[in-house]
């Protein structure tokens, strides 16, 4: 069997499994549709949360990103895991004690205000759509590269699968498919990592392989530092970003993680407060398996790349890497006409590669490489390489068996689909529950609300699919937006709702609005309007959510001092949230 047959087989089997689970766990009530009837065991919820949280970005892009950033890549590793500590210690148990269905539910009830609820609904929907577009795109890329179908068809297949289990099963269906998807994605991530770790360092545990020795008794990281410097890159283990910037980005990612509605809502699905704490532990443990392997994969991939590519002729580099040229994720322009690839610091040309075409066919150079119309820029670097390739091409570069390649495709799809489903559910509940039932049409019955939730999920799938096929050119930048907004709005609002009894409606609404406006205008200005402007104190747009959060806190505190304290029953509610539930609840 060849690579493609293996891929079809493994992806097909995994899809059949998801559909089987979806049919087994259909939702019959709004409680089951929104929060799986609050009966998910902590271990299963931990796995589901892990799959929910680890998106196409974690699976496909993160290790690649780190492999190009070196030590600075730590912002993603720490940022996306450290947020769980905040979530577990500060939010999850209390939100579970509060009960109900959604994050806007909490904000609306705690701040006795439908304006607060609406601001929360708006943020939840915006954050979720931002994210889900990227997931659908990820599905399309995996399909087009591994199964050689068009990206559009890939996205349509992905939509059909998600539609099936999200619309039918709601949270109940999603939860158990996510458990299966976690198993698929972690297996798919670990198998190639273990293989390559053994090949490079002789150690079967990739986490330890990172500190291992390569042939000749040299430490892997020292060797990589040496290779990098010889080629004119910075040493891999040295950072190049400013300390304040790294600090702020890490903080924004952590706080943003803790404020993401599709993750928070997973803690509503367990039976007791105790179970919410326990599932936060399981979730981080399951996430940590991938997140401690990723830096090792990044180093392995970088080492292989620097050994296999620079100074070689295009036709000599591994076939698994060459193939990515067809998808436009790799390109080579022979600036000095020596027939060899020079790879060093700096850009080869501006923008994405534009291949020369004649009668709809690419014009090829003497080594079979596509010729480019991009104008070369100064500097000696001749290679364009997209970071996303690193994880997907790694098994092929390392020459692993064909079934491993198929497995990686199935893993990437599992990661993208599980996150997409979780996000679609947030959109559908925000619409049916928070917007319709709680705000616009309070007198609808449960059956009607469930119907609306299904319609909401269906419409959301279609919109997400549309963005997957016609992605706005700025998906990556928009993700900074999602985190920044979650950090500057949800996190402070929920935190204050639990830990400050004095915090009132006026304080929180003004805090959220100022936080969002500040963060949004900073990102829009430095990301879209004036890209070359020098950011304040060297804080990049990805880190500005940290400042937005602080401003939110400051405004909320000040305003609440000068306005009336919350009503008696709200203060009692806060007291109640803080106490443990009585046993056998």
């Amino acid at each position: 069997m060849d690579v493609q047959a293996w891929t079809f087989l493994i992806v097909g089997l995994s899809f059949a499994l998801y559909i089987f689970i979806a049919i087994r766990s259909r939702a019959g009530s709004t409680g089951e549709f929104y929060v799986a009837g609050k009966g998910v065991p902590p271990l299963a919820n931990g796995m589901a949360t892990a799959a929910d949280w680890m998106s196409a970005a974690s699976f496909i892009s993160m290790a690649g990103l780190i492999s190009f950033m070196g030590r600075d890549g730590g912002v993603y590793l720490m940022g996306w895991t450290g947020g769980y500590v905040l979530l577990a210690l500060l939010l999850a148990p209390y939100l579970r004690k509060f009960g109900r269905f959604t994050v806007p539910d909490f904000i609306g009830d705690r701040y006795y205000s439908s304006t607060a609820r609406l601001v929360a609904v708006f943020c939840a929907i915006f954050v979720s759509f931002t994210y889900v577009a990227g997931q659908m795109r990820g599905v399309g890329i995996v399909f087009s590269r591994f199964l050689e179908v068009d990206i559009e068809i890939g996205v349509l297949i992905g939509m059909a699968i998600v539609f099936f289990y999200a619309v039918l099963g709601g949270m109940k269906g999603i939860t158990y498919t996510q458990v299966a998807q976690y198993c698929v994605l972690i297996f798919a991530f670990m198998v190639p990592a273990i293989f390559i770790s053994i090949m490079l360092t002789g150690n079967a545990v990739p986490q330890l392989g990172l500190g291992g020795e390569v042939e000749g008794g040299m430490h892997l990281l020292d060797k990589l530092d040496g290779l990098s410097k010889d080629l004119g890159f910075d040493a891999y283990t040295n950072g190049s970003k400013g300390t304040l910037d790294v600090f702020c980005i890490t903080m924004a990612l952590m706080v943003g993680t803790a404020g993401l509605p599709h993750v928070i809502v997973r803690f509503y699905t367990v039976k007791r407060v105790k179970d919410a704490r326990m599932s936060a532990f399981w979730a981080l443990l399951f996430i940590a398996v991938l997140y401690t392997t990723a830096p090792a994969v990044a180093v392995f991939a970088r080492t292989n790349l620097l050994q296999e590519v620079p100074g070689k002729r295009f036709e000599e580099i591994p076939k698994g890497l060459q193939k990515w040229e067809e998808s436009g994720l790799l390109a080579w322009t022979d600036k000095n006409s020596d027939g060899k690839i020079q790879y060093t610091k700096g850009k080869a040309f501006n923008g994405k590669p534009q291949f020369k075409e004649k009668d709809g066919e690419r014009v090829l150079g003497d080594q079979g490489q596509g010729l480019l119309t991009n104008e070369a820029v100064e500097g000696t670097n001749e290679l364009y390489i997209d970071r996303d390739i690193m994880v997907l091409a790694n098994p092929e570069i390392a020459g692993l068996p064909d079934w491993v390649v198929g497995l990686v495709a199935a893993g990437g799809l599992a990661a993208a689909l599980s996150t997409a489903a979780g996000l679609l559910l947030v959109i559908s509940t925000s619409f049916a529950h928070d917007l319709m039932k709680k705000t616009l049409t309070p007198d609808i019955d449960e059956k009607r609300e469930l119907f609306l939730a299904r319609v909401g999920a269906a419409v959301a799938v279609v919109i997400a699919g549309y963005f997957g096929i016609n992605p706005p050119g700025f998906v990556a930048q928009v993700v900074a937006f999602a985190f920044g907004l979650a950090a500057a709005s949800f996190f402070p609002a929920i935190l204050l709702g639990i830990f400050s009894k004095r915090m009132n409606r006026e304080g929180v609404i003004s805090g959220m609005i100022v936080g969002i406006l500040f963060t949004a205008s900073y990102i829009i200005y430095f990301q879209f309007i004036d890209k070359d402007a020098k950011p304040w104190f060297g804080i990049s747009p990805a880190g500005i959510g940290t400042l937005g959060m602080l401003i939110n806190f400051a405004v909320a505190f000040t305003v609440s001092r000068f306005t009336a304290p919350p009503p008696e029953e709200v203060q009692e509610m806060v007291d109640d949230i803080r106490l443990p539930e009585t046993d056998e609840a």
Binding site: I66, R71, G239, K274, P295, D583
Partner: protein, 102 residues
Amino acid sequence: MSQQDPVNTDSAATAPAGMTPREYWRKNITCVLWLLAIWFVVSYGCGILFADELDQFRTPGGGIKLGFWFAQQGSIYVFVILIAIYVRFMNRLDARFNGKQG
């Protein structure tokens, strides 16, 4: 006794250890603050602010510079342990509050 508010009388009846809601909340906050202090020190301290100083040292076996290790792996291990400690502490505290042996 008669002057106590109803919540306190209630919990005094069910909690032989004599823990009031106020005490429970204070213990909870203390635990959380300690854990967050460690959380901050390993990630922002060891992984970012003092990473360069720590890079003079290496992990056992000598393969990885310590600051780099904290930024890319070490902090994550510590995060998992922190949540485990929190779960254990809170389960016991809850049991004591509800008047049972943890």
